[in-house]
Symmetry: C2
């Protein structure tokens, strides 16, 4: 096959060895005479896969025993409801840093269930200054989105909050690309379809003392405690997605782990940002350097009429899915863990050539 | 490979041509240079797959324009909450026929949100007599489970209810194995992992006039209207599972459709029930013939101490996953659409041999 460079924001690029391993075992799983996707989730083989996947995540992210690992369905959008439904307890208010499209959506969902104290300026999406984040002692939790996929913004600090206020983060799009400090984070969640596996799987890592706060009228499937007590097997889990995520974890370990991913993410994204900054204004990204996302490089062409041509020519060269999110337009290069450095290099070279021809 | 006969109750057996097609395209989707599971769900290829899957379902089940087809996540358990959250409206009560483990669970979840009028005897699970089902005009809906996977019970009639009361059915385990009358059924749902595809996908088919009844505090992801308006793309759908379900639909059409599946299901299950009934009491199934499931043949050995030996010997002959659900014990042969007649024949022969050796 002639493999392209896929800059999609999710579902996005996965490691080729993972795809090959899944394909080779999709009809007959290691000589069992059936596919993994035909197997009972309670059988010995899948039970081992789901247990191992949680253990691999614990190792990759140094998740302490204070935290549980849940493998669920429903994506980030379902977490937008599960977080307040499970963490509010008797509190009437939660604090949300609104820095981009996803945290804005999360805050809107939480407003169905409690008063939301918004930190930041929803009309002008940006990572707030660290000192601008102040949280009252009686907030149920402080919520932020570590990396805003659509806006290309990534936190370069962990927001401060009183020790009694649990810190919650949507880490969907930079999951497994940087370490997470679980002394500070009470709950993080991630849709798998960026750095962890196929769509249809959501990982939640949460402090065990936060279990049991959901009310009687919380739908059972939205109650973290139910899933924790059942080892993420309360209902039939998405077995294929968990299997692929298991293979992704093993690939990450073979490549050197999360620190290596972090370094590579910086290298890939720096190259593209340098190309933008050196283009003499042909390409535009006005995000302060310290808040630029390592995962999603969002930019525009000063001459926006050239956007479609840029995408068309890039596409013809095997640089795929560079169009920005439909809500913001422009261009976006998502550079997830499985994107080789060669992809960033080829994109950078194409950008220079395109600017030379049209600048 | 040496393919076994897999009698698992779900995830369960899938058609080999479907698995082969998925495996052949899992690394490089039809020459696109990337996997289907790496593609943006909003790209041209997946958009076409999800649209086509809904159309194929419409064709296979004769779904009229009065009904919408939603492809969601979360399984039957999530539907147990979504049904009351979306259909109660201003009503205070819903009617549930409790005929087995799954309808009992659904009724318990609904009791979080309304008064549940239970029809049937939860202490002795069975399909009630048709005339025993009486429903008040002011019930929000009447709910039943068409096929009880764990208990081996299947409705042979459509429950009667006043025309103003929507009829709702969990059809998870006999989906696509028999026709569904959408003049009578206002809403049916099915977890995919029996007859439709891999785990992690749920199909909901509902009358469009039932959209819009959810309250303001219903979590967005649990609101049918949100998913209907977004064409099941409100959030990232489980792309792999939908792709495989698409291939399953095409396989069903190539085999002759739902009527052929219905006939085959009767043939397969009849053979196993005949073997039970002709065993002189060695094998036991006390379900009235008209309520026996065509999908899940549940039985016991009169001498229950032989159960483990039965499973061990069957396993050695490539007859896999015959143990009954952990909540009821005994044996269960799930005979989904993709189970060849040869599987039922081999099981029947093994049962006769085993009875002869140990009877």
């Amino acid at each position: 096959m002639s493999r392209v460079f896929n800059f999609a924001a999710g579902p996005g690029v996965l490691p080729v060895p993972v795809l090959e391993e899944a394909a080779a075992n999709l009809v007959d799983y290691h000589g069992e005479g059936m596919s993994l996707i035909e197997m009972s989730h309670r059988g010995a083989i899948f039970s081992q896969i789901i247990r191992e996947t949680k253990d691999l995540l614990r190792g990759l992210l140094n998740i302490p025993d204070t935290h549980d690992v849940l493998l669920l369905q429903g994506g980030g959008h379902t977490q937008f409801a599960m977080v307040p439904l499970n963490l509010l307890g008797a509190a009437a208010e939660a604090a949300y840093i609104v820095s981009g499209t996803w945290s804005k959506k999360a805050a809107a969902e939480a407003a169905k269930f409690c008063h939301v104290n918004v930190i930041g300026t929803p009309s002008r999406l940006a990572i707030p200054a660290r000192e601008a984040v102040t949280v009252a002692n009686d907030a149920a939790y402080l919520y932020y989105c570590m990396n805003e996929t659509i806006n290309g913004l990534e936190f370069n600090y962990i927001p401060d909050c009183p020790e009694c206020v649990p810190l919650v983060s949507d880490v969907s799009s930079d999951f497994l690309s940087r370490p997470i400090d679980f002394k500070r984070h009470a709950l993080v969640f991630a849709g798998a379809q960026k750095n962890f596996g196929p769509a249809g799987l959501t990982v939640v890592i949460l402090r065990k003392d936060l279990l049991g706060l959901a009310s009687e009228t919380c739908p059972t499937m939205l109650n973290y405690q139910i899933h924790a007590e059942a080892g993420s097997m309360y209902n039939t889990p998405p077995t294929f997605a968990i299997w692929v995520a298991n293979l992704v974890c093993k690939w990450l370990i073979s490549e050197g782990g999360v620190e290596v991913m972090d370094r590579r993410a910086r290298e890939r994204s720096s190259l593209v940002y340098q190309t933008i900054d050196a283009s003499g204004g042909f390409y535009v990204n006005n995000i302060p350097a310290q808040h630029r996302s390592r995962m999603n490089v969002v930019f525009t062409l000063a001459e926006s009429a050239l956007t479609d041509l840029f995408i068309k020519e890039a596409d013809a060269q095997g640089l795929k899915n560079l169009r920005g999110h439909r809500s913001v337009g422009g261009l976006r290069a998502s550079l997830f863990n499985a994107m080789p450095m060669a992809g960033a290099e080829k994109l950078s070279q194409f950008m220079k050539d395109f600017a030379e021809r049209h600048g």
